[in-house]
Subunit: 329 residues, 2 copies
Amino acid sequence: MRILVTGAAGFIGRMVVEALAARDDLVVDGQPGQIASIIATDIAAGPLADLSARHDRVCAIPGSLDDPDVLARIRENAPDVIVHLAAVVSGLAEQDFDLGMRVNVHSTIALIDACRAMSHPPVFLFSSSVAVFSCPGNDTISETTLPAPMSSYGTQKLICELLVRDASRKGFIKGRAIRFPTISVRPGKPNRAASSFASGIIREPLAGMRADLPVGHDLRLHLASPLKALDGILVAIGLSQDTIGVETTLTLPGTSVTVAGMIEALSRLAGPQCAALITPRPDPAIERIVASWPGQILSPRAESLGFSANANIEEIIQEYMDGSQQAGR
Amino acid sequence: MRILVTGAAGFIGRMVVEALAARDDLVVDGQPGQIASIIATDIAAGPLADLSARHDRVCAIPGSLDDPDVLARIRENAPDVIVHLAAVVSGLAEQDFDLGMRVNVHSTIALIDACRAMSHPPVFLFSSSVAVFSCPGNDTISETTLPAPMSSYGTQKLICELLVRDASRKGFIKGRAIRFPTISVRPGKPNRAASSFASGIIREPLAGMRADLPVGHDLRLHLASPLKALDGILVAIGLSQDTIGVETTLTLPGTSVTVAGMIEALSRLAGPQCAALITPRPDPAIERIVASWPGQILSPRAESLGFSANANIEEIIQEYMDGSQQAGR
């Protein structure tokens, strides 16, 4: 089988490509099969070239999904599985509305259109986000709660969930849209995303650096580790379409933890001197945004389909300390 | 003020243009104002020419919303109010997916984009549909029920609701998306829509013609008369954006009635010999579709904002008998 990964140069994209390159077989749509090739596409050509240089079975298609040549090459390759991760992140989609629409909505429409030209409908995994939700007071909601996005990013992700659902009903694709929790601990540097602190307050202290905490200790976050996100992608690919049925959107289970709980766990695992590097620096703008985030999302349907959350926040922090977000390299 | 009506040659579109042409003032976004001109656009040039010939203040822009020239003329006219009715109907959107996406989704995106070029955000009324909903067993649902469209038409309407909601949050437009109940009694001929019988079993017998009844007598329908739909459009235009807030989608109240109740009302108003022209002719395909339609939709929020349902099915039938669906001519 051939597997296409879009946004393959991103953090999750690279994890997926590395994990697929490290194995020979994969369950797809309920059936085990052999991985023949992994087609990696992204606008960032450098990381793609690196991936294809290191793995014989990885073939790179650098370029944008709004480039007809890139779409033509995807159609020619006729992938059996598409893992569609390419996206403009939350902050940027809010700042540049047109860019968000182009990358997050129109590219997904174009990719689904490309699938219609293929001889058989591919498994199409779309990466959505719990940013489709909002709720008053950092409350507990469920996977069947009415989405109410408070950002263009969340709106665009929700629109694509609906496109995937309808295209699956029409038989164009075997769709599954999975809503990722906030991913923590992400490697790298702090960014301007409101959720940046959810990784920063673990990552920076572990590197011996100070980390600002812009929110209160009582705020609850709904988290998944990078490896748990990867696990969710593989489980979603493996499910048969019959099992999923008409409702192709799945909300991944997450671990609900307070900021205080994160700090306590960090202190237990890395010592109080590490946790002491976290400096409260309230930011009303960020506090206002995060107050509308669900503190917990119950997802019994996703759990019954085989998705799972991290055991606890300690597991999430330990995974980062072990460097296991780079598993498969 | 200038008011743009798209899909102005359609049944509801003509009603809206006629009603606006018959009055001098209109409450828009909470403020009364004078109607200076009505810009009517549609791909059907003939009916548009008729409208503009009969009303001095009606100006016709024939053409498609995917024609850059049409969009340029709309931008030049910089309407204060947009009533966006242009759409491909349910059956056709299911049959021709690309046409449905182009007209129902991409044209709405293009129209919202055109608004961003204007000096002030116009009131933007989008006509959605209760086709965004489905439920098992013809059940009672509410305006806050999670939409689960079972057609490309319903999916496309839901996507546009989300686009209107986000564009309003961003300040591009003053959006309001209203979900119309099944409109009955529509004039004209039966069509291939699954809902065709909801008008046909009243309209045809009143014209002395037989009407097939493809569904059971116990099926409940959620109906609004054409004048009630027009009323909903005018109420929605009048609401101030502050009153509507971030949730710009409004589900119009409807009248819930069984098929048996419709036939009884017809018998009372037009005599049993009229109702006897309805011939049961079960159609399993239609029965399967309508069983997923909500039998009733509770909409307390819409009611609190000033929207209302018809008093009863008698009022709906009487309106058609009075020919009052052509009021304003």
